[in-house]
Amino acid sequence: MTTRTSLEPPVAPPPPEVSRLRSLLDFYLTSTRLAIIRNFQYRVANYFYMIGMLAEPIMLLVVWSAVARSRGGSVDGLTPGDFAAYFIVWTLVRQMNIAFTPAAWEWRIREGQLSGWLLRPIHPINYDLADIGGWKVAVIVMWLPIAAVLTVIFHPTLHPRLVDVLVFAVAIWGAYAIRSLALWLLGMVTFWTTRVGAIFETYFAAELILSGRIVPLKLMPAWVQRLANFLPFKWTFGYPIESLVGRLPIAQLVGGLAAQALWIAVGSGLVALLWRRAIRRFSSVGN
């Protein structure tokens, strides 16, 4: 039997390296699988959560349909059926927009969750993306019956082409990635000030107007539409919805995916840059 000594011990060799990409994929698959299991376990709670979030789009749908009817059946070419399609798809895109909120960063630091992740040989954003991404897989499955009920009630005008469906399927995940990166950037402000709430509210107000959340962007003034093209908000909300319901030309569909890819690249770069400084600061002040 071996005993504690000052002699060189039989140090266990570190596990052999698997290719970096393969192990990252393994991590994403494992983490996503666990998130799906966890969220199906809480399916009733998730359903209540999703139903609670229906109030906003139904209210907007009812208001805009009433406006359309009062104007002889359409607003700028959008009929009540178009609004129904827009806001029913909205309900899924809204779910896809949910990411780790900046406000929760303070909790994450205070409870030591961040320290736990810093001790692991993987960037913590991977955990957030995989974990909340897994939740979304569960949400999409649970959303289907809700969409069916809304369709029966509101009669949407929705005739997507195959290409629209394919682009939409990619665009909702692009939207999720962009918003996750944006909220991570906001959340990291916590490392310098705990008052991130005010900054988040400002971001949220801009997003509300410029994303297509309260109204399809085509109903906004031309200058707002132009401005929205140069900001990330539209690519997380209005664009994914339009890609399915708007019968956009192929060039616009592909252009939208390219814009999403650009914002993901910009967001990733900024997160990488800010993360290094944030961690340096966190490590200096500690928790």
Binding site: M1, T2, T3, R4, T5, S6, L7, E8, P9, P10, V11, A12, P14, P15, P16, E17, V18, S23, D26, F27, L29, T30, S31, L34, I37, R38, Q41, Y42, G112, S115, G116, L118, L119, R120, P121, I122, I279, R280, S283, S284, V285, G286
Partner: protein
């Protein structure tokens, strides 16, 4: 025999925190709007030590002594203000992946496992994070399940486990990647005696099987006595003692205890030393260390002694003495 190079090497390590300071009340609050006052707090104040491969070292000190801050610097969670640290040849604050794959930091009051899922699922996540090959993962996991007597508990959601069971899972999960260096911060805090014993025997077994190096903080001296031959005592951010646990008593304890069993337990023994306990026929005396042999001889000559035991004072008392001495200085 030449000493192997240290696994943990700490030289003149310091950590200072800037802490905001303000009096209570509205006036102080308004004043702080224009003039914010801060205070520098030295959490770790120039400590140096080295730990060699396979050593299990107890890191002792009262609350606020700088133990956790030191462990955080050693594991890369905190940047030192000055001084140098190397662990396994790495500078921890760089948090290189190769370094993180070879260490673990277990904090008794923190939970890193998935609350709503069975531990088996969390273990699976750790396998993916640490890139543990499947075969090795299964072998290590099963070994830990057996050593920690986890049985079917690994199939229950973490939220349904008791504190002690959760801690066992936490430790198993933290060691699945078979780290070479373990930083354990109060791993048995709040646990009952049986669970403490189980966890400390597991740590000892892991150290023996894998030759791991362990730095352990604990307020339970039983942990330290069972696992650590060497202790480092820290207080107010400075090291007061670094050496063999046995030497701590020799250096700091000014007395020994003598337990005497007599035919007649009512005999007055106050002439031999301070009577600190009496139970049936057994009397406990506290005597100055230098007088121990003389008092023992006198007792054996003068009294009908059935049994006699000379002991160093309990390690808790010695540690208390160390801290008290530092305060006097």
């Amino acid at each position: 025999m030449a000493h192997p190079s240290p696994i943990v090497d700490v030289a003149d390590l310091r950590k200072t925190f800037k802490v905001p300071e303000r009096e209570a009340g509205l006036r102080a609050s308004l004043r702080s709007l224009v003039r914010r006052t801060t205070r520098q707090v030295k959490a770790v104040d120039g400590i140096s030590f080295a730990i060699h491969p396979g050593e299990v070292v107890g890191f002792l000190g009262p609350n606020g002594a700088g133990k956790t801050t030191t462990l955080k610097m050693l594991s890369g969670l905190l940047y030192p203000t000055s001084g140098s640290v190397t662990v396994l040849g790495h500078t921890p604050s760089r948090r290189e992946k190769d370094f993180l794959r070879r260490i673990t930091l277990v904090m008794g009051n923190r939970n890193q496992l998935e609350w709503d899922l069975p531990a088996l699922d969390s273990f699976e996540l750790n396998r993916a994070i640490y890139r543990i090959p499947q075969e090795e993962f299964r072998r290590t996991r099963d070994e830990f399940i057996e050593l920690l007597d986890l049985g079917d508990l690994v199939r229950k959601p973490i939220r349904n486990l008791s504190l002690g069971e959760r801690m066992k899972m936490e430790i198993a999960g933290s060691l699945l990647h078979r780290p070479q260096v373990l930083f354990l911060d109060e791993p048995t805090i709040g646990l009952d005696v049986t669970m403490q014993k189980r966890i400390r025997s597991f740590i000892g077994e892991y150290n023996r099987r894998h030759g791991a190096t362990v730095l352990l903080t604990s307020h339970y001296m039983a942990d330290v006595e069972a696992l650590c031959r060497r202790v480092v005592v820290i207080h107010h951010g400075r090291i007061l003692f670094d050496g063999e646990l046995a030497a701590l008593s020799h250096q700091f304890a000014a007395y020994k205890t003598i337990e005497v069993s007599l035919e007649d337990g009512t005999v007055d023994l106050s002439g031999y030393g301070e009577v600190v306990g009496r139970e049936g026929g057994r009397v406990t005396l506290r005597v100055p260390k230098d007088d121990t042999s003389r008092v023992t001889a006198r007792l054996l000559n003068d009294q009908p002694v059935k049994d006699l035991l000379v002991e160093d004072p309990p390690i808790e008392d010695v540690i208390e003495l160390v801290f008290a001495q530092e305060v006097v200085e």
